[in-house]
């Protein structure tokens, strides 16, 4: 069974601080997505990483896919209150054609002004 372990589960920081969220597995994924979810809404896709070692930047957010495609990280620089939300990583099963995603447990981020 493929699992994705996300850490930390909860993070409360001050505006302007930097943070990193990790997503780890013992399984290889063909791709990995990061989603952000606000209370009462569905998750919204932030980025997809496909190639081992790939780094993608989205304004103050930097996403990295591990060389072996088993892990990923999300780094936020100078966090702002608008970054508050639930961050979810999800891996696509390379051996299956179902399109099913394996989701991590999520990281709840609170950025205080």
């Amino acid at each position: 069974t493929q699992l994705l372990e996300q850490s930390p589960q909860f993070l409360s920081i001050q505006e302007g601080e930097n943070l990193t969220v990790y997503c780890n597995s013992s399984s290889v994924f063909s791709s990995l997505q990061w989603y952000r979810q606000e209370p009462g809404e569905g998750p919204v896709l932030l980025v997809t990483v496909v190639t081992g070692g790939e780094v993608k930047k989205l304004k103050r957010l930097t996403f990295q896919f591990g060389d072996a495609r088993k892990d990923s990280s999300l780094h936020i620089t100078a966090a702002q209150p608008g970054d508050t939300g639930l961050y979810l990583c999800a891996g696509a099963d390379s051996a299956s054609n179902t399109g099913k995603l394996i989701f991590g447990q999520g990281t709840t981020l609170q950025v205080k002004p």
Binding site: S30, S31, Q33, Y35, P39, G40, E41, G42, P43, V44, L45, T48, V50, L86, L88, A90, A92, T98, G99, K100, L101, F103, G104, Q105, G106, T108
Partner: protein, 113 residues
């Protein structure tokens, strides 16, 4: 922006009632999914569909049922709601192939009294 819709957004009902949660997408996606999520927690897959007349149970056992008579429509039904069914229900879809990104609806927040 994803074109996937869920109704109702909020539903409060009494125990024993039959309910149907609606999900529609206008993107022509073959694969659709239903997830159950408690506030701030991970997503649990309860049903998925590869296409018309195809439905499968997900990783989390659920007393709900689904149908897929049309590509764009994937309703979920609970024959007799119980308080243990109280949760957020999220519908998602994805196109065939690609890196597996899923597009989510806004969710239905169900409360069973």
């Amino acid at each position: 922006e994803a074109d996937i819709y869920q109704t109702p957004r909020y539903l409060v009902i009494g125990t024993g009632k039959k309910i149907t949660l609606e999900c529609s997408q206008t993107m022509g996606h073959d694969k659709m999914y239903w997830y159950q999520q408690d506030p701030g927690m991970e997503l649990h897959l309860i049903h998925y569909s590869y296409g018309v007349n195809s439905t499968e149970k997900g990783d989390l056992s659920s007393e709900s049922t689904v149908s897929r008579i049309r590509t764009e429509h994937f309703p979920l039904t609970l024959e007799s709601a119980r308080p243990s069914h109280t949760s957020q229900y999220l519908c998602a879809s994805t196109r065939g192939g690609g890196a597996g990104e899923q597009f989510f609806g806004p969710g239905t927040r169900l409360t069973v009294l």
